[in-house]
């Protein structure tokens, strides 16, 4: 996972040849050649995932191990808590949580998943941020930070994901949402968590590179499973109300402004047992306590026209200054209409009408609750 600044060619995941053989349209994404869609098309891939099971190659994401030098997991937990405003110390073995890396101003450097694996933590970070995150993690004392370079990562998502995966790995049937376990398949060690980025039940599965294509073929042999590209991954996560780093949040957006305050538990907030102690803590905690002026809101345009990233939002049908802009937006195939997210005044009530400026015209848009679809996690 070392970064060579002279590198100009996109990296390929271990599934590149398989994607191409399946007819994928490949595009550059975060320095990788990734399938944006398969012949089924974005709309059908999205709906298939919500109805059956979709298989995503997310091998571009960074997998990182954080191991305590003294053999005491608490050392690693506390080190991670110095960078992440989450309860790492209280995370039981075999469980996973969502967290954020913050900067000194309280902005978000990246979002991530971290799992307690008994004697170390396994982190999964965004592809575009992976090199920066690893350098950031390497500033921690008392731990060894090991990028995982010999494994691919898959996501199997959808209401039939558990049934399908259990045919290959029976033990997953007993996993709950955000469990993280190690199981074998045909001699290969799989790192499996019951989690995902679609709002559906499902799994994220780390597979040794040498067996990645074999495992994917075994999954694709199941009649319920279809390969899904980044296009549908984006519309699925948008409908699920999940923010995308670099769009709905970045280094200038705080946890409260990204509506991610829920990831910061009481123990890390003002008055908590391990309050603060992460970059930008004063700003982050003060804003959480007072409530942010603006925060990530859901938007439902009244018409059929999608409102996409960058579209300006206004309080009035004419005149006035923009009150924010769309950070993610598009067509929601399961919603059957356009959906979007934007950072807007936090005091706008749900159902309030605002206006999106689309090709010089202002169109009415309702403030809507997130998510746009009801998640179906197995808790």
């Amino acid at each position: 996972m070392t970064d060579d600044p002279r590198r100009t060619e996109s990296r390929k995941t271990g599934l590149y040849d398989l994607h191409v053989s399946l007819g994928a349209r490949m595009v550059p994404f975060a320095g990788w050649d990734m399938p944006v869609q398969f012949p089924m098309g974005v709309m059908a891939e999205h709906l298939h995932t919500r109805a059956q099971a979709g298989l995503f190659d997310v091998s571009h994401m960074g997998q990182v191990l954080v191991t305590p030098r003294d053999g005491n997991l608490e050392t690693a937990a506390l080190a991670l808590e110095s960078l992440i405003p989450a309860d790492v110390l209280g995370l039981p073995e075999g469980r996973q949580r969502y967290g954020l890396f913050t900067n000194d101003a309280g902005g978000i450097l990246d979002d991530l998943m971290f799992a307690n694996r008994g004697d170390h933590f396994l982190l999964v970070v965004n592809a575009a941020c992976a090199d920066q995150d690893i350098a950031h993690l390497q500033t921690m004392e008392g731990v060894v930070v090991t990028p995982v370079t010999d494994r691919g990562l898959l996501a199997l998502q959808g209401p039939l994901a558990a049934e399908v995966l259990a045919r290959l790995v029976p033990a997953v049937a007993d996993m709950r949402f955000m469990d993280s376990q190690i199981h074998g398949w045909d001699g290969a060690e799989l790192w499996i968590s019951r989690s995902g980025y679609t709002g559906e039940d499902g799994f994220e599965i780390s597979v040794p590179e040498a067996r990645l294509a074999d495992f994917v073929r075994a999954l694709l042999d199941q009649p319920e499973v279809a390969p899904i590209g980044l296009g549908a991954r984006d519309s699925l996560r948008l409908e699920a109300g999940m923010p995308l780093y670099g769009h709905d949040m970045d280094a200038a957006v705080t946890p409260a402004q990204a509506a991610l305050g829920w990831s910061i538990p009481k123990a890390r907030r003002t008055g908590g047992a391990r309050a603060g102690g992460f970059p930008g803590a004063d700003a982050v905690l003060a804003e959480l306590a007072a409530g942010p002026a603006t925060t990530r809101r859901g938007l439902r345009p009244e018409g059929r026209a999608p409102i996409r990233e960058g579209v300006a939002i206004y309080a009035e049908a004419a005149g006035g200054a923009s009150i924010g802009q769309v950070s993610s937006g598009g067509f929601g195939p399961s919603v059957g209409g356009p959906v979007a997210m934007a950072r807007l005044p936090a005091d706008l009530p749900e159902g309030a009408t605002v206006y999106a400026e689309l090709r010089g015209k202002r169109v009415p848009v309702a403030i809507a609750a997130l998510p746009f679809v009801t998640p179906s996690y197995k808790r």
């Binding site: 974005v42 709309m43 026209a305």
Partner: protein, 119 residues
Amino acid sequence: MLKYTEDHEWLRAEGDEIVVGITPHASEQLGDVVFIELPDEGREVEAGEEVVVIESVKAASDISAPIAGVITAVNAALADAPGSVNDDPQAAWFFRIKPADPKAIEGFMDEAAYQALIG
């Protein structure tokens, strides 16, 4: 006989009007179409003027008037069923235009030239 533009529109002469749609190649490149905004009937347009907004799940794009003239009719059914552009792009016409120059259509590609363009 159909003619084709470099922007992947098909043109069909009917009387003194030209019917305009997009080719299967364009439809495939766009992906699933989810929104179409058509021009007002009676609008006078220049060649190259953006007259139709077409949005797929992936992106927004425009369709330009291939020739100068007056929009005489639009296919209003597309607004309610934008996916018909993917289902049958040759049937899903967008608008009819009465060209300012009746010979304007002659300068466009024929089927063979268009097939050569898209390879």
